[in-house]
């Protein structure tokens, strides 16, 4: 019972990684066009709120998710306009958007639902859990892979799709070009800004999905600040995964795994503060074993423009 590693550990990792992964992919798309997106946290929070709101208004989970994507897409458009259109510093704008999201969701919660802090409606149904016909009967694998919400599967599917998009399609190729050398891309006549806006809005949609998975998939409720720092972890996962969809997935899974492991460590009378520190410390240690690619180092200089 008190073993450190068991199968449910991996299964727990898988489902709770989904919002993280979606947000980290969002970060990766932005990084690919040369924008450092620290607003992931705020966008995810907005997604979580609007997903619940949409579900409540339309009484339909799917519409709830779509509504979240639209709202966060719009928010990311604001982010894009300030950063690309008005040349504002991405980190300042991102931080301000995080702040805005905290205030706006809390306020709307009160304005719309008339409650403070939390909205929960036991009549509301969350995202369905899909059991995969044959897979679910395989002993261990079934437990691991079956019974997740559609967004969990979508998250992993998106990894493959984005990997394909970036490295196999023409549009992806041009997007990479825009990120690698915007001046050259512009002189070639590529619509640099359009690509940047596209990537940002898409990342907004991904954050909408991430939020929806959190508020309609993981649980079925909204709480002020319920992202609880996941957006920042996603940011780290983006960087750690070097903005490669597969790499980002690896980093997110690593985080999820370390986090699950850290809760298990709580039962081994390790002080809680240290178990909570564990994923972060381990990540630094893991980084020692992965050689830093130049791309990553450059992203560290995306800074003070």
């Amino acid at each position: 019972m008190e073993t450190l590693l068991d199968w449910s550990l991996l299964s727990a990792t898988l489902w709770k990684v989904a919002p993280l992964l979606l947000a980290a992919l969002a970060g990766a798309m932005c990084a690919r066009v040369g924008i450092f997106n620290v607003a992931l946290e705020g966008m995810m929070l907005t997604g979580a709120f609007t997903a619940i709101l949409g579900n409540y208004w339309f009484d339909n989970v799917l519409l709830g998710v779509v509504f979240a994507c639209l709202c966060v897409g719009a928010l990311s458009l604001l982010f894009g306009y300030l950063v690309i259109g008005l040349q504002a510093n991405a980190i300042v704008v991102g931080t301000a958007i995080n702040f805005l999201a905290t205030g706006l969701t809390a306020f709307s919660l009160f304005a719309i639902f008339g409650v403070k802090g939390q909205f929960r409606d036991s009549a509301m149904s969350g995202l369905p859990k899909w059991n995969i016909p044959l897979v679910q009967d395989i002993p261990v694998v079934g437990e691991l892979l079956s019974g997740h919400t559609p967004l969990v599967y979508l998250a992993f599917l998106l990894v493959v799709a984005l990997q394909f998009f970036l490295f196999r399609t023409v549009m992806g190729f041009r997007l990479l070009a825009v990120g690698e050398n915007p001046v050259a891309a512009k002189s070639l006549g590529l619509p640099v800004r359009r690509y940047q806006y596209g990537a940002i809005v898409f990342s907004g949609i991904l954050c909408g999905l991430a939020g929806a998975q959190l508020s309609l998939g993981q649980v079925t409720l909204f709480t002020e600040n319920m992202t609880a720092g996941r957006g920042f972890i996603a940011l780290v996962a983006t960087m750690l995964g070097q903005s490669n969809p597969i790499g980002v997935m690896g980093a997110s899974l690593l985080f999820g795994f370390l986090d699950t492991l850290s809760t298990r460590l709580q039962s081994f009378s390790v002080p809680t503060h240290f178990t909570m520190m564990f994923p972060y410390a381990m990540t630094i240690i893991v980084m020692l074993f992965f050689k830093d690619k130049s791309y990553l180092r450059q992203s560290g200089r995306l800074d003070s423009k």
Partner: protein
């Protein structure tokens, strides 16, 4: 004349002028938010102003709040200027504050000795924590952005553990906090009955000193060049490794000092989350970026951000506008200041006028 130009007052004037119209636009967006909740726009802004600068007391409160932001922003500015994107101000402040509290409690001696010991301990702790990230970069090529972010969490939990268990005050109310400092170790207040403490003077002095250091000293010059083009600096005989470690160390020490003054000047003990919950570090990073890493500009931006926060309290106390809307107003102001709307507007209009077509 020449001398004036040399100091670059023009640049400062511009740095101040540009955000001005942006603030106006931000206020406009905020007005929409206030209007939607049925508040009076004029009253709300009046209360905001009063809350920030409306009386001598509130002005000093704003400056008190600005003090840690200024110091941390200076640290961040220095690192940015040297080309290192140090996002670790939070962790550095936390450890600085904790170390300062310990020194002030346990170092024997009179008040002055305690204060000095606390300042040294705070700066050392913040500096070393920052140095660790720098060292991981120079020695193992670990990305500084990631490590500084991660080290924040580690510092936060480590300090949390220390005050929740081994260093928790005896008896007391059960809060995760250290004992209260001996009142001898409290920083003197600048005015009776006000919160503003001597740390503010140090912060102002540090801003001037850093501005002077970067513009007028050889090391400051080397740091600027290192940040601007590291290969050029290496070519010219600047040693990256030691210079990086020094600037990270000083950057962290300034953040540590920010934490120290929070302990010695306002809280008189280390309390869990006392650095994180007011969001000092992110404010500092914003202030730095708003000012383009210019020390004086960062200090002014820090005061602006602090004013927005204390102003929000004024709105909270004296109007029916909910607290959440204050954060909406605050963030829209920041968004527009950051965009330097005026600047881009003018630029575009000019471009259009010249070309006769939209760019």
């Amino acid at each position: 004349m020449a001398a004036i130009n040399r100091i670059g007052w023009n640049k400062y004037a511009q740095a101040l002028g540009m955000p001005f119209m942006a603030i106006a636009l931000g206020l406009f967006v905020g007005a929409i938010a206030i209007w939607t909740v049925g508040g009076s726009v004029i009253d709300t802004y009046a209360e905001m102003w009063k809350g920030a600068f409306g009386s001598f007391y509130f002005t000093t409160t704003t400056l008190t709040r600005a003090t840690p932001i200024i110091l941390a922003a200076l640290g961040v500015s220095l690192a940015f200027r040297a080309g290192f994107f140090n996002l670790g101000a939070e962790g550095q402040m936390i450890l600085g504050a904790l170390a300062a509290a310990l020194a002030a409690i346990y170092v024997p001696g009179n008040g002055l000795i305690k204060i000095l010991a606390a300042a040294i301990a705070g700066m050392l702790a913040g500096g070393l924590w920052s140095l660790l990230a720098g060292w991981l970069d120079t020695r193992f090529k670990l990305n500084l952005l990631i490590t500084t972010l991660l080290l924040n969490y580690i510092a936060m939990y480590a300090a949390g553990y220390m005050v929740a268990f081994p260093l928790k005050e005896k008896g007391g109310t059960g809060g995760a906090q250290t004992e209260m400092l001996d009142s001898a170790a409290w920083l003197p207040k600048l005015f009776a009955g006000m919160t503003l403490h001597a740390g503010f003077l140090v912060a102002v002095f540090a801003a001037l000193l850093l501005a002077w250091f970067l513009a007028y000293t050889a090391k400051g010059y080397e740091i600027r060049m290192l940040g601007s083009n590291p290969l050029f600096a290496a070519f010219g005989g600047v040693k990256r490794g030691p210079l990086m470690l020094t600037s990270m160390m000083i950057s962290g020490a300034l953040a540590g000092l920010a934490g120290t003054f929070e302990v010695l000047g306002t809280q008189y003990r280390y309390i869990d989350n006392m650095i994180t919950s007011p969001g000092y570090a992110w404010s500092a990073i914003m202030a730095t970026l708003l000012a383009g890493s210019n020390p004086i500009g960062s200090a002014l931006a820090a005061i602006l951000l602090a004013a927005l926060q204390t102003g929000a309290m004024g709105v909270e106390r004296n109007t029916e506008v909910p607290l959440e809307i204050s954060s909406v107003i605050q963030s829209s102001l920041i968004l527009f200041v950051s965009a330097r709307v005026t600047f881009s507007f003018l630029k575009r209009r000019k471009a259009r006028g010249a070309d006769g077509n939209a760019a």
